[in-house]
């Protein structure tokens, strides 16, 4: 079969793109096709022309800032790799006296932090001791009006927490401690009556609410 001079295989052959078998087949055909041989020569010449023309084109590049941006992506790794070449010990030996002192101080701070943080986590600070209720040993037991009177009332703190009096505490009988204990009741306007008067205590009469006078609009 006669080969067509316009066959793309000729271009592929001229550009060295064919495999061994295909190349041999084309060469066999070219032996008997003068026109195709001429075509291959022309293709090779045009290719050389293009090679030369394209090689002469100016080669653009990246800006310096862009090159730096790319290198910055590599920097953490490269710095890490380069700095590790020098051992820490060597760096410490080469440092000045102030530098060494700073390193020691930093190491000490880190060590203290490493020890202190777990210790505080394991031993949280305890609650501060509450002031004892003065009622337990008060000379004048007090009855809170409205509560059932019991033969031996065990007073509790306003928040309902039983507090044991502390023996030997000089503040336990003081008026100041009593005032502190009674303050919440007074804030709520609950009268505190001595125990012996509790039976005869009469609460103040609650008067019915008066209606508010009508407000007159307009001139007076």
């Amino acid at each position: 079969m006669k080969m067509n001079p316009d066959d793309p295989r000729l271009t592929a052959y001229a550009l060295g793109e064919l495999g061994e078998a295909q190349r041999k087949a084309i060469e066999a055909e070219l032996d008997s096709a003068v026109e195709c041989r001429h075509e291959v020569e022309e293709i090779a010449r045009t290719a050389a022309l293009l090679d030369a023309a394209l090689a002469a084109e100016p080669l653009p590049g990246l800006t310096y800032a862009q090159q730096l941006a790319i290198q910055a992506k590599l920097k953490p790794g490269s710095i890490k790799a380069e700095t590790r070449k020098r051992s820490l010990l060597t760096a410490f030996r080469e440092a000045s006296l102030i530098g060494r002192a700073a390193v020691c101080a930093a190491v000490a701070v880190v060590l203290v932090a490493l020890i202190a943080v777990p210790w505080f986590a394991a031993h949280p600070p305890t609650n501060p001791r509450r002031a004892p209720s003065p009622i337990a040993k008060a000379a004048r037991p007090v009855q809170i009006v409205g509560q059932a009177s019991s033969p031996a009332p065990r007073p509790s703190s306003p928040v309902g927490e039983t507090v044991k009096p502390v023996q030997g505490d000089g503040a336990e009988d003081s008026d100041e401690a009593f005032a502190r204990w009674a303050a919440p009741y007074r804030r709520l306007q609950i009268p505190l009556v001595p125990l012996e008067e509790a039976a005869s205590y009469r609460p103040p009469e609650i008067l019915p609410m008066q209606t508010a006078p009508a407000i007159r609009h307009g001139r007076t």
Binding site: A12, E17, E42, T46, L54, A55, E57, L62
Partner: protein, 184 residues
């Protein structure tokens, strides 16, 4: 220690790729985007992506990988630009113009000579494969994987482009000199 070595090796590998391919990739991306600065941005992006790759996985087909990523990225950028500037000069520059302006013609002659001027008049797909083949030394197979064309298609485009250039460089009637002989 092994980690350090591999990191250092990778750094050198990327730097070598940047030295070797930044220029060709910028030229290739300029062909697609039609804008040098956009092309530079594209190439920067490509090389940043290369930093995330493992050398042993890419090195065997580094040129292919770079040109392929560059092409895809440049096409993305060009599409975005086209949306923003539907009838800009950029669009016109991308198309083969049958009659470029005299100023453009003179500029092209000065910059790249007659052959490049002829090349610029070819369809874009032919220009692309010619540049990949003759400017960047990629094989038909490499060009096929970069452009998603079949190897036969690549061969046909190159064949047609060379034939067109050759025909236009033939000595015109009345002239003795054959431009092909002049160049070779």
């Amino acid at each position: 220690m092994n980690n350090d070595c591999s990191e250092l090796k990778k750094t050198e590998w990327v730097r070598a790729a940047m030295d070797r391919y930044a220029g060709p990739l910028t030229r290739y991306a300029t062909l697609i985007t039609g804008d040098r600065e956009l092309a530079q941005d594209v190439v920067q992006d490509v090389l940043v992506r290369l930093c995330a790759e493992q050398p042993e996985q890419v090195d065997a087909h580094l040129a292919q990988w770079l040109f392929r990523v560059c092409r895809n990225r440049a096409l993305d950028v060009q599409r975005k630009q086209s949306r923003m500037e539907p009838l800009s000069d950029l669009e016109l520059n991308m198309q083969a113009s049958p009659e470029p302006s005299p100023a453009t013609q003179a500029e092209r002659r000065e910059a790249a000579g007659e052959v490049l001027e002829l090349m610029a008049s070819l369809p874009k797909s032919q220009q692309e494969v010619l540049r990949l083949k003759f400017q960047n030394g990629l094989s038909y197979h490499d060009i096929s994987s970069v452009t998603d064309l079949t190897v036969s298609n690549v061969g046909f485009l190159i064949h047609t482009a060379l034939k067109t250039i050759r025909r236009q460089l033939q000595p015109k009637p009345g002239t003795r000199e054959d431009p092909l002989r002049r160049w070779t």
